[in-house]
């Protein structure tokens, strides 16, 4: 915990009596790229706004660099925010937008000019200084919003779904650019998104949130491979989530069939959620699989086919490079390590 730059202790927040954040505790290390991931209304933006100082927690403490900052207003905090729709100042040109924070610090014109020009260069926006904000594309506005924050050399940069308004191609480009920039500048990034793919690509640590509670915190690989509950499994990547019953350690019954698995420690006869990733299911000729089913639909996805296969009354989502036409009977197989057992959520 010594090198934690941001530390949240038991943060609770209510809006009009409704709990938005329920006892959130987490720490962010220096130079880390942390992503808050979750569906809308899960509390991720509120958490970010509490760190930024725009909301006050009802309970709990916020530490910045070891210092309690609950009562510090946003304009005295050494962190900067990139807002969802950028919140650029339309009455100021590009140069003045970036210089805004520096002018408040009463820097001399020469220093300001040097800093702003360096930012413009860094973001490939040279010669754009005199432009009005409404003359820029979404991608350019995005860069200026980041430049405006970074020019103040914050220790932590907060980003609230900064790529949400961009089209897919630009979003991919910016994801790489942002990640590269974070590494180059050595600044802590706290990033909010509802896009799981974005989170997986960019983050060092992902915090999955739902209904004001942290569901799981870990590296992208951990979160994807070892989801702690059905919500995380479902939210990160696509999943088949089935009801199962533990027969014994390493043995689970799903859809009336017994499967070997790698999980133990559950009670006998305990009802569990079973998560199976669509790419872990393999097709076999009819009669040779662990489960027998009928293909309901096939969509070509480029690298693989996406199929709905109904077996034992459950419609499995299957990603496979093999393809079986609609209406044919097929078998499905899976190995013990493809089966993820989770405690039933409340």
């Amino acid at each position: 915990m010594d090198n934690a730059i941001i530390q949240l202790n038991h943060i609770t927040k209510k809006f009009d009596g409704e709990i938005v954040l329920d006892d959130i505790t987490l720490s962010v290390k220096e130079n880390e790229f942390v992503t808050f991931l979750g569906p809308s209304g899960c509390g991720k933006t509120t958490t970010l706004r509490i760190i930024g100082g725009f909301e006050r927690p009802d309970e709990g403490e916020v530490y910045f660099d070891g210092q309690l900052i609950n009562d510090i207003p946003p304009f005295k905090r050494q962190l900067n925010t990139v807002f969802q729709k950028y919140a650029l100042f339309p009455h100021l040109n590009v140069y003045e937008n970036i210089a805004f924070g520096l002018r408040i610090k009463k820097m001399d014109e020469k220093t300001i000019s040097a800093k702003v020009e360096r930012m413009l260069e860094l973001f490939n926006l040279k010669n754009y200084g005199k432009r009005r904000i409404d003359q820029l594309s979404g991608g350019q506005q995005q860069r200026i919003a980041i430049a405006r924050a970074l020019v103040n050399e914050p220790k932590v940069l907060l980003l609230d779904e900064p790529l949400g308004a961009l089209d897919l191609k630009l979003r991919k480009e910016m994801q790489h650019e942002l990640k590269a920039m974070q590494k180059q500048l050595g600044i802590t990034f706290i990033y909010v998104t509802h896009d799981q793919e974005e989170a997986l690509t960019m983050s060092d640590t992902i915090v999955v949130m739902n209904e004001g509670i942290i569901q799981q915190m870990g590296s992208p690989i951990d979160i994807y491979n070892e989801p702690e509950n059905a919500f995380v499994a479902d939210f990160i990547g696509e999943s088949n989530i089935l009801d199962g019953v533990m027969i014994d350690d390493y043995l689970v019954e799903i859809l009336g069939k017994k499967f070997e698995c790698l999980d133990s420690g559950f009670g006998r006869g305990e009802e569990v959620d079973v998560v199976i990733r669509p790419e872990d299911l393999d097709l076999t000729p009819a009669g040779e699989g662990k489960l027998e089913g009928i293909v309901k639909s096939v969509i070509f996805k480029g690298v693989h086919y996406e199929m709905d296969i109904e077996a034992n009354g459950y419609e499995f989502l299957v990603h496979s490079t093999d393809m079986a036409p609609v209406g044919t009977s097929v078998g499905l197989t899976l190995t013990p390590d493809d089966i993820h057992i989770m405690k039933k959520g409340d």
């Binding site: 725009f54 729709k85 100042f89």
Partner: protein, 266 residues
């Protein structure tokens, strides 16, 4: 095609209807005799006499002075109030907005007599001050109503962004909020000015000894016959307004054009 001509003829008739009295006024301000309705020859004498007509000059002075002070004061007070109201929520906000709305929906005559009763209840002397105060009272709601939509349009994160960059709330207000809502403030200012300059009813009930405005003078003359000097003054005022509007329009258009050029470069 026929439809197009019909449209043109229709708009022509509407504009003749709207401008007939104005043309009559303007034309008769150059009439030699005092008679209205009879053209006796061209003359500029009413324009010359305008400079010697003490009543009209005083009324003009009061009208303009009150309009300028009203516009300035109600714009300042209205802007501050609008910013505050915008930050309010729920029932409190609804109540204030409704009361604020009263002078707008109330007949002017009701606003006029209610203020008159107020001033008498407080033993105030009727005159310049009561008239000015009344104008400010009924102008502020319009200023607020023209600024509030601009505040609503404002990106909710705009103030936060400024504070995030180190601006104190006051600095954010001065450097971000006020510049952003400027169009609304200007509209409000012009509205207050126009309402004040054009008001008759409320001034009529709150005027005092020796203080009149143009509307009141015209009203008092209407039955006996309005002096053509008033026609001359109004013609001058209308031409000034017209020129100002054309100037503002030209500037706005020029601005738009330069913007478009820049845009095409991108």
């Amino acid at each position: 095609m026929v439809r197009k001509y019909l449209s043109k003829i229709y708009m022509g008739i509407i504009f003749i209807f709207l401008y007939a009295p104005i043309v009559v006024l303007a034309v008769f301000s150059f009439n030699e005799s005092k008679s209205r309705g009879h053209w006796t020859g061209f003359s500029l004498k009413w324009y010359i006499e305008l400079f010697h007509d003490q009543d009209i000059r005083m009324a003009f002075y009061y009208t303009i002075t009150i309009a300028i002070i009203t516009a300035i004061v109600s714009t300042i007070l209205g802007t501050i109030a609008a910013i505050g109201i915008n930050a309010m929520k729920g029932r409190q906000k609804a109540l204030i907005l409704n009361v604020n709305y009263l002078p707008v929906v109330n007949p002017d005559i009701v606003t006029g007599i209610s203020l008159m009763i107020l001033y008498i209840s407080f033993n105030m002397d009727f005159g310049f001050n009561t008239m000015l105060l009344s104008h400010i009272v009924f102008s502020i709601p319009y200023v607020i109503l023209s600024i509030l939509p601009k505040l609503k349009q404002l990106d909710v994160h705009m103030t936060e962004a400024a504070m995030d960059l180190g601006a104190t709330p006051m600095y954010a207000l001065r450097k971000v909020i006020i510049p952003e809502i400027k169009p609304g403030i200007i509209t409000g200012f012009l509205m207050a000015f126009t309402l004040s300059i054009d008001d008759f009813i409320i001034s009529y009930f709150t005027k005092g000894e020796g203080v009149t405005n143009l509307s009141i003078i015209i009203y008092s003359m209407a039955r006996r016959g309005v002096r053509p000097t008033i026609n001359a003054l109004s013609t001058i005022m209308l031409i000034v307004v017209l020129l100002l509007m054309i100037l503002i329009n030209k500037r706005a258009n020029g601005h738009d054009k330069s913007k478009n050029i820049n845009r095409s470069e991108v």
